[in-house]
Symmetry: C2
Subunit: 140 residues, 2 copies
C-alpha cells in the first residue's frame, strides 16, 4: 500500500471549519465586536472589503477602520443568513451567502455576499481575505 505522506483532510471537515469561520465573521458583525472581527481576518495588505454601495477598501488597516466606524455608528444590524454555499479548494475557500437584514421582526432587505478564506499555514485556521457584500434590488 502506498504511503501517503500528506493526507488530504476530508472535505467535510474543511467545509465545516470554513462555515465556522464564516459564522464567526457574522457573529462579530452582529455583536459589533472589534476583537472578534480582528480575529476573523488575515492581517495583511492583500485583504479587501466591499460594504454595500462602497468602494473597495484594501489592506487590514483600511478594513479594520471601516469596521471601527460602522460599529461606532447608529446602525445595529441583525440578519438571518440564508442560501450559504461553501466551496473548498486546497487551502482556499469561498462562501456565497445572503444576509437578510432584520428591521424589527421583518426582513428589510437582502445583501448578497462573497467571502474568500485562506488557510493560515501556521495556525491552520481559516482567515478572511476578501468580503464583498452588495444590495440585492427588490424584485419588481
Amino acid at each position: 500500500m502506498p504511503r501517503i505522506s500528506s493526507p488530504t483532510p476530508r472535505p467535510s471537515d474543511d467545509e465545516a471549519a470554513v462555515a465556522a469561520a464564516n459564522a464567526a465573521f457574522y457573529a462579530a458583525f452582529e455583536a459589533r465586536d472589534l476583537d472578534g472581527m480582528s480575529a476573523v481576518w488575515e492581517h495583511s495588505d492583500r485583504v479587501s472589503c466591499v460594504h454595500p454601495g462602497w468602494h473597495v477598501l484594501r489592506g487590514w488597516g483600511a478594513v479594520a477602520g471601516s469596521w471601527f466606524a460602522l460599529f461606532g455608528g447608529p446602525q445595529h444590524l441583525q440578519f438571518i443568513l440564508t442560501d450559504e454555499v461553501v466551496s473548498v479548494a486546497g487551502d482556499t475557500a469561498w462562501v456565497t451567502v445572503d444576509e437578510n437584514l432584520l428591521d424589527g421582526d421583518t426582513v428589510g432587505g437582502t445583501v448578497t455576499a462573497l467571502n474568500v478564506f485562506l488557510r493560515d499555514a501556521v495556525s491552520e485556521t481559516w482567515k478572511l481575505v476578501a468580503h464583498h457584500g452588495s444590495p440585492v434590488a427588490q424584485r419588481q
Copy 2:
C-alpha cells in the same frame, strides 16, 4: 544543492497569467462573446456570479444563461478598468477591480468587482469560479 522536484513558479508569472485571464473575461464581456466567456469560466456546479443588483447565480448553467440573456439584450457595455489588484495564493487567485462604465465619452457609473480564479490542474490555465460585481454609490 537540494533537488527541487516541484519548483514554485515566480509570483510575477502567476500574477501576469491571472491578469490575462481577468482581461479575457472583460474582453468577452465587452465583445458580447459567449464562446470567449465560456472559455474563461470553470464549467462546474461550484461557480457563482453576482451581476450588480442581482441575486447570486450558481452553477455554470445558470451563469452561462445570464450572459446569454445579457448579450442578447439592448445594453452594449463598455468600460475602463481601474485600480486592479491581483493576489495569488498557490493555485487560487483573486482580483479586485473597478469597472468604470462608459456612457458615450464619459464615465456613467462604477461597478466594483471581486473575481476568484482557480488554476485548472490539467490545463494549468486560470479559470473563473466566482464573479461578484456591485454598484458603487455616487459620492455625496
